[in-house]
C-alpha cells in the first residue's frame, strides 16, 4: 500500500481540486504547478464543479493487477466544463448507451483494493451520466 502517495492526492481524488493560474486565469487539472498556457508558476487551488462531457471512451476487458476483479469497466476522457480534460471511469450507467458528448458528473467511488491483507481501499472520482430530466426540472 502506497499510503503517502494516496494521501498526497486526496484533494484531487475526493474534491477535484486543481489550480487556477494567477497570471492568465487558465484552469488546470490535474494540478501541475507550471501553467501549460503561459508557463508561469500556478499553485493557487481551484475546485472544479465536476460537470463535464464524454470526449472519448472505451471498455477494458484485460485489466491490470489490482483492477481485474472489476473488469470489464469503462474508461473515459472527460472534458470538464471549465476546460481541462481528465481520465476517469464511467459508472452508474445502467442500460444507457454511452456516447461521445454525453453529459456526466463526478461521483466518489471505490477505485481499487490495494491488495494487502489490511484491506485498505483507494477511493476517488468516477463520472456518471447526468439525468437529463432532473436538469430540466
Amino acid at each position: 500500500m502506497e499510503i503517502p502517495r494516496h494521501w498526497r492526492l486526496k484533494k484531487q481524488r475526493y474534491g477535484l481540486v486543481g489550480e487556477v493560474c494567477p497570471h492568465c486565469n487558465h484552469k488546470i487539472f490535474p494540478p501541475r504547478d507550471v501553467c501549460p498556457n503561459c508557463g508561469d508558476e500556478a499553485k493557487e487551488q481551484f475546485a472544479f464543479s465536476g460537470k463535464g462531457e464524454v470526449y472519448s471512451y472505451t471498455t477494458v476487458y484485460e485489466a491490470p493487477a489490482g483492477f481485474d476483479a472489476n473488469a470489464p469497466y469503462t474508461v473515459a476522457i472527460v472534458k470538464l466544463e471549465e476546460g481541462p480534460m481528465l481520465t476517469a471511469q464511467l459508472t452508474d450507467m445502467g442500460e444507457q448507451p454511452i456516447q461521445i458528448g454525453m453529459s456526466v458528473e463526478m461521483v466518489t467511488r471505490k477505485m481499487r483494493n490495494d491488495g494487502d491483507e489490511r484491506g485498505v481501499i483507494v477511493y476517488g472520482y468516477k463520472f456518471r451520466p447526468v439525468a437529463q430530466n432532473a436538469i430540466a426540472g
Binding site: 502517495r5 484531487q12 471498455t59 476487458y61 484485460e62 491490470p64 493487477a65 481541462p84
Partner: protein, 386 residues
C-alpha cells in the same frame, strides 16, 4: 561532422523464448551484430530496455549484459523511454560516436515479456502512462490507444474496419522475414472477425508483446577497416522530442507533435525532403499510432492517414512502403528492442538484402520509435552510401 555508420546488425527471432532470459537474448543479438561488423571492438554499450525491473525484477542491465557478453570493463548504461527505449539507445550511441568520445558503440535493445502473463503484464506496461492520473483509473496501454482510435473514428467518419489495411500490410510483409513472430498473411475477414480488446480496438489493431533482442554496431566512417566488404549505411539524421504522458493533458491528442518535430528535425539534418524517403518503419504497436504518424510526418493530411492503408499506399510497391518486414504488428513488439529492430530492418533494406521484400533503389529510410502514445518520439534517417 563526420559520418556515423551502422557497420553491424544482429537480431534474434521475435517470439516466446521460454528457454532464454534477458541476458541470453541480448548476447545472441550482440554476437550476431559484432560478427556482422567484421569484428569491430566496442568501447561502450547502450541498452534499450523498457520493463526489466518490473517484468524480470532486474535492473542494471548495462553492467549485466556487458559482463555476460564477454565485454567486462566497457562503459555500459540502460536507456529507458517506454516503447521508444530502443530508439533512445540508438540516439545515445549515435551521439557518443559522432562526438568523437567513443569510436565504436554497441547498441542493443532487449525485452523479455513472457516471464509474466495477463494482469501482471498489463500492470507493468501501464507504468508508461501517468500513474497518478491515468493508471489509477485502470487505464491500460490498449485503452489509451482505444480512446484515441474512438475519437479519431468519430471525427473523421472512419468505417468499422477502416484500420484493417495496416494489419493486412504488416502480415503480408512478414512472410519473408525469418525473424518475424507471425509469418502468415491475413485476410480482411480475419481482421473483421478478430476479438475486441478495448472497443473499437481489435486484437489485429495491436502488436503482440513478445521477447526479442536486436543490436547495432556504430562507428565513424574513417574507422572502418579497409578490407571491410559491407555496404555502408549512414545515420544521416537523428532527433528526439517529448510530450505529456497523459492524453488528457494535450491540447490536441489527435496530433502526434513529437512525431512531427523529431521527423522534421531528422530530415533537416539529413538535408532531404519528404518525397526522398523511400520507406517508413513506423511504430505500429497500435494501428491508430501508424495512422497518426503518417499524418504527423506529412505523408497524409490530418484525419486521412488511415486511407493510406486502405488504398495500398503503404504497400511494398506503394507510394510510401511501411512495415516492410512485418512491422511490430507481425514481426512482434519486443518493447525496448522495437526501435532497434526498426534500424536492423532499415539497414537490411538499404544494403539491398531484404529479399522478396526489397524496396527497389532504396536510398533513404525513416524509422520512428514511440514511447507511449508518442509521449516520446525518436526519429532517424538512414542513408545508403556510395
Amino acid at each position: 561532422m563526420t559520418d556515423v555508420i551502422i557497420a553491424g546488425i544482429g537480431q534474434t527471432p521475435v517470439g516466446e523464448h521460454w528457454e532464454l532470459g534477458i541476458r541470453n537474448l541480448a548476447t545472441a543479438a550482440i554476437r550476431d551484430a559484432l560478427q556482422n561488423s567484421g569484428g569491430l571492438k566496442p568501447q561502450a554499450l547502450f541498452v534499450g530496455n523498457m520493463l526489466a525491473p518490473n517484468l524480470s525484477n532486474q535492473a542494471h542491465l548495462g553492467a549485466l549484459i556487458a559482463e555476460y557478453t564477454g565485454l567486462t570493463g566497457i562503459e555500459a548504461i540502460t536507456l529507458e523511454a517506454a516503447g521508444a527505449s530502443g530508439g533512445a539507445a540508438l540516439r545515445q550511441g549515435y551521439l557518443a560516436v559522432s562526438s568523437g568520445m567513443v569510436d565504436v558503440a554497441l547498441v542493443v535493445g532487449v525485452e523479455k515479456f513472457t516471464d509474466k502473463i495477463g494482469a501482471d503484464v498489463e500492470e507493468a506496461t501501464a507504468t508508461e502512462n501517468d500513474s497518478d492520473f491515468e493508471s489509477i483509473h485502470g487505464m491500460t496501454i490498449g485503452a489509451q490507444a482505444a480512446l484515441l482510435m474512438k475519437r479519431y473514428m468519430h471525427e473523421n467518419n472512419v468505417p468499422e474496419n477502416g484500420f484493417a489495411g495496416f494489419a493486412l500490410n504488416a502480415h503480408a510483409n512478414s512472410v519473408a522475414n525469418p525473424n518475424a513472430a507471425f509469418r502468415k498473411a491475413i485476410k480482411a475477414e480475419m481482421y473483421a472477425k478478430s476479438e475486441m480488446v478495448s472497443d473499437p480496438l481489435k486484437i489485429f489493431d495491436m502488436a503482440p508483446h513478445l521477447d526479442g533482442a536486436a543490436a547495432l554496431v556504430l562507428t565513424r566512417r574513417e574507422l572502418i577497416p579497409s578490407d571491410w566488404q559491407g555496404q555502408p549505411v549512414k545515420i544521416a539524421g537523428s532527433a528526439a522530442s517529448t510530450d505529456t504522458l497523459a492524453l488528457h493533458d494535450r491540447k490536441d491528442m489527435l496530433r502526434f507533435d513529437t512525431a512531427q518535430i523529431s521527423a522534421s528535425k531528422a530530415m533537416k539534418q539529413a538535408g532531404i525532403e519528404l518525397n526522398q524517403i523511400n520507406f517508413f518503419e513506423y511504430h505500429d504497436i497500435f494501428n491508430i499510432y501508424a495512422a497518426l504518424q503518417l499524418e504527423a510526418v506529412g505523408f497524409a493530411p490530418r484525419g486521412q492517414g488511415w486511407k493510406l492503408a486502405e488504398d495500398g499506399s503503404i504497400g511494398l510497391k506503394g507510394r510510401i512502403p511501411c512495415a516492410t518486414l512485418g512491422g511490430m504488428k507481425a514481426r512482434g513488439f519486443a518493447g525496448g528492442a522495437a526501435g532497434v529492430y526498426q534500424a536492423v530492418e532499415a539497414v537490411t533494406q538499404l544494403r539491398g538484402q531484404a529479399g522478396a521484400n526489397q524496396i527497389a533503389g532504396a536510398q533513404f529510410g525513416l524509422i520512428q520509435s514511440l514511447g507511449g502514445a508518442a509521449s516520446t518520439a525518436v526519429s532517424h534517417i538512414l542513408q545508403k552510401l556510395g
